[in-house]
């Protein structure tokens, strides 16, 4: 793989990693699953769903 392609792939992966950590990917999946477009209402619904599962997730010391 040439260096430019490698760099582009690494950058894309890094963005993916950030999007997953910051739940942007989860929101995209939510929109796809519900077949709705992004809006304040759909994001509020997503947050409600997330709240239940996230609140039970331990944070490490």
């Amino acid at each position: 793989m040439n260096p430019t392609a490698w760099l582009a792939r690494t950058a894309a992966l890094f963005v993916c990693f950030l999007r997953e950590i910051f739940d942007e990917s989860a929101y995209t999946r939510f929109l796809r699953q519900r077949r709705v477009s992004s809006s304040p209402e759909s994001y509020a619904e997503f947050c409600r769903e997330q709240a239940a599962s996230k609140a039970r997730r331990p944070r490490c010391c």
Binding site: L13, L18, Y43, S53, C60
Partner: protein
């Protein structure tokens, strides 16, 4: 030919690693560069990952790339999602990296840099990484079951109960100790308090942005929030220097403790997601950025370690916390070497994201190596300080004296020169009134970080900004753990109470929410209050207690892992988990014994209670005596419970190995992955 070069490359890595470890271990009387620690760590982790984790993958766990994971079989687009291994790695690392790997090594630096560094390297490669890896894999093979569920199914009902109690205890004590660190970092610091207070409106603004203006754009809002936090840090300097505004944000330790307890209760009981979720994202953003910056700063500046490899305090007379290097160095540094808490993450969200079983090696073993590297960076940050400065910041007034001159004289008398004037100048350089008696590890770490950052970027002129950036980072980080931990604890209590009376288990029933939140906040708030009022600084009691709980949880996790290995007829490989288990038993049981029964009042809870009883009686003294006895009882109960799970596990291993019991593992049956073709 290619094989020859591979062997040669690994021989070079091994030689470099040996040279670095030998330099760290054998140099006496002269200061060494921090880069030796970085080199030793990099080589040790590379060798551990390449050889030890590969051995575990192939021989002990027999990872199977053709076996479908729960993320694939149960894919629901929500909890179970097959995810790229690097993304899962980042996700897992962000979840396991808390304040522990930063604070523990700073406190343990009182023994010198050598004990902590060696424990971090060996503990991670042979203990922590192994624990995280095997628990992750076993959870993946059980549809992402939690540690407590696996303990109940594989060991028995006692195992499940002990795991539950250990988890709840560690949450309570962790939150108490974490809150105390925040209190000690922010007391009498208007700049710090202002910056942290400002994160509340900033988070609300982020919440508004992400919900109303740009739905779902969390990264954007986090960048915006980060910029506003930097502005708050800059404004904090002005606030702290202004005669009118400074008193508004200047609090004593007890006042701050009350504020934090009220905050914890509100965060648990009220629907304040507009605040908490954005702040959680902001904290993650700052955490990842700061750890990256610290690594870059150390590489750019490559500082010299001022702390000697070993100090006189290995004998147990240290001012930061009491107790000799064995066992106390090994419970003080938990996260970064081995942390039982990680087993909760490895059996929580992460197993539900793993796309292919073989990726558990990189995620489980690899992410723990990354966290261990963070602990090495924290050790460096503490050890670049002059030892006199380090001890002046971390020693409680009850030990070194209440005035600056008395403290400087005591610390200089130990052979670590420091002057009241020098400390005053340092305090002024970082924008604080004083740096004496700022126990808890966070201020010392912040001063170390500020030195590293200012030497690699911006010079001494911006030292105060970097110091308060570091304080903000630690406090924000711990407060996020605090509100998340309080909610997790509340759910655990609700789950348990639901068995007694169903409505109490309903997470939407408000009386139950209010009552269980009060129980959890009351529990950690009690430990916090005890720490604030402790004349020895609180950390002396709380951090070892936290370390003992954390390592006892690791003992439970390794019991579960060993049981599964034995049940799968691989007892000959059991030493992989039995060796760290045996070490942890030695460490935690010895430490627990010392904390309960040591005749030295600075170490043993009961000895301190006896000493206080012999003095002048007062209400305050009675309370201190009660606290000591309570801490001894908590330690005793935890050790007894873990002894039970150990005995139950050992009895099971003996019966399975001797053929008296049919081994029955609760793995889900093999299903062929549909990704098999991609994997070739």
């Amino acid at each position: 030919m290619a094989k020859f070069f591979r062997v040669l490359a690994w021989l070079i890595v091994a030689s470099l690693g040996t040279l670095a470890v030998a330099t760290i271990a054998l140099h006496r009387g002269e200061q060494i560069s921090a880069m030796w620690l970085v080199l030793a760590a990099a080589c040790t982790y590379a060798l551990g990952y390449r050889f030890y984790s590969k051995f575990i993958s192939a021989r002990v766990l027999a990872l199977d790339s053709l076996r479908a994971t729960p993320a694939e079989r149960l894919d629901n687009g929500r909890d179970f999602v097959p995810t790229n291994k690097w993304v899962v790695f980042g996700h897992h690392f962000a979840a396991i990296a808390g304040p522990g790997p930063l604070i523990g090594p700073v406190l343990a630096a009182q023994f010198g840099y050598l004990p902590g560094t060696l424990w971090i390297l060996a503990g991670a490669v042979f203990g922590g990484c192994v624990q995280d890896f095997v628990i992750l894999l076993f959870s993946v093979r059980r549809d992402g079951k939690s540690l407590t569920e696996m303990a109940r199914e594989e060991i028995g009902r006692v195992g499940g109960f002990v795991a539950y109690v250990a988890v709840l205890s560690i949450i309570v004590i962790l939150l108490g100790a974490g809150a105390l660190i925040v209190v000690n970092a922010l007391k009498s610091s208007p700049w710090g308090v202002f910056t942290i207070a400002m994160t509340i409106p900033i988070a609300v603004l982020m919440g508004f942005y992400v919900r109303r203006m740009r739905p779902g754009k969390v990264l954007e809002s986090s960048v915006l929030g980060f910029a506003l936090v930097i502005l708050a840090i800059l404004a904090g300097q002005w606030i702290s220097q202004n005669a009118i505004t400074a008193p508004w944000f200047t609090f004593t330790a007890p006042t701050l403790a009350i504020v934090i307890i009220i905050y914890g209760y509100a965060a648990s009981a009220l629907p304040v997601w507009l605040l908490l979720a954005p702040r959680d994202y902001l904290s993650t953003f700052v955490k990842l950025g700061t750890i990256g910056l610290l690594a870059i700063g150390i590489i750019v500046w490559h500082p010299t370690l001022r702390m000697p490899p070993l100090t006189r305090f290995v004998d147990g007379t240290g001012p930061v916390f009491s107790g000799s290097v064995f066992p106390f160095a090994f419970i003080t540094i938990a996260c970064g070497a081995i942390s039982g808490f990680h087993s909760l993450i490895s059996s929580g969200t992460t197993p539900k994201l793993i796309r292919c079983e073989t990726e558990t090696r990189m995620v489980g073993y690899g992410a723990m190596m990354a966290e261990s590297m963070v602990a090495i960076l924290a050790t460096i940050a503490a050890c670049v300080l002059q030892p006199g400065t380090y001890f002046a910041i971390n020693s409680p007034a009850g030990i070194v004296g209440k005035t600056a001159d008395a403290a400087a004289a005591t610390i200089s008398g130990w052979g670590f020169p420091v002057t009241a004037e020098g400390m005053h100048a340092l305090a002024q350089a970082v924008g604080e009134q004083t740096l004496f008696n700022r126990t808890g590890g966070a201020p010392a770490f912040a001063v170390g970080m500020a030195q590293i950052f200012s030497n690699s970027l911006g010079g001494q002129a911006v030292m105060a900004i970097w110091y308060h950036f570091a304080i903000m980072f630690e406090a924000l980080f711990i407060l996020t753990v605090l509100d998340a931990g309080t909610r997790v604890g509340r759910f655990m209590v609700q789950d348990a109470l639901g068995h007694l009376w169903k409505p109490l288990g309903r997470t939407s029933w408000y009386p139950s929410i209010l009552a269980t939140s009060a129980l959890i906040v009351g529990a950690w708030g009690y430990f916090l209050w005890q720490g604030v009022k402790d004349p020895l600084g609180g950390i002396n009691s709380l951090w070892p207690l936290f370390g003992i709980c954390n390592q006892l949880l690791a003992t439970v996790a390794l019991c579960v892992a060993t049981t599964i290995i034995v049940k799968t007829h691989k007892a000959r490989f059991a030493p992989v988990t039995v060796a760290p288990l045996a070490w942890l038993i030695a460490v935690t049981f010895t430490a627990s014994w010392h904390k309960m029964f040591d005749p030295n009042p600075r170490i043993g809870f009961l000895a301190q209670a006896r000493q206080l009883s012999a003095g002048v009686p007062s209400h305050e003294v009675s309370r201190l005596i009660f606290n000591d006895r309570l801490d001894a009882v908590v330690t005793g109960i935890l050790v007894s419970l873990v002894t039970l799970i150990l005995l139950e596990s050992a009895w099971l291993w003996i019966r399975v190995i001797s053929g008296h019991k049919q081994a029955e593992v609760k793995e889900v049956p093999f299903v062929m992955t549909r990704f098999a073709e991609e994997q070739g």
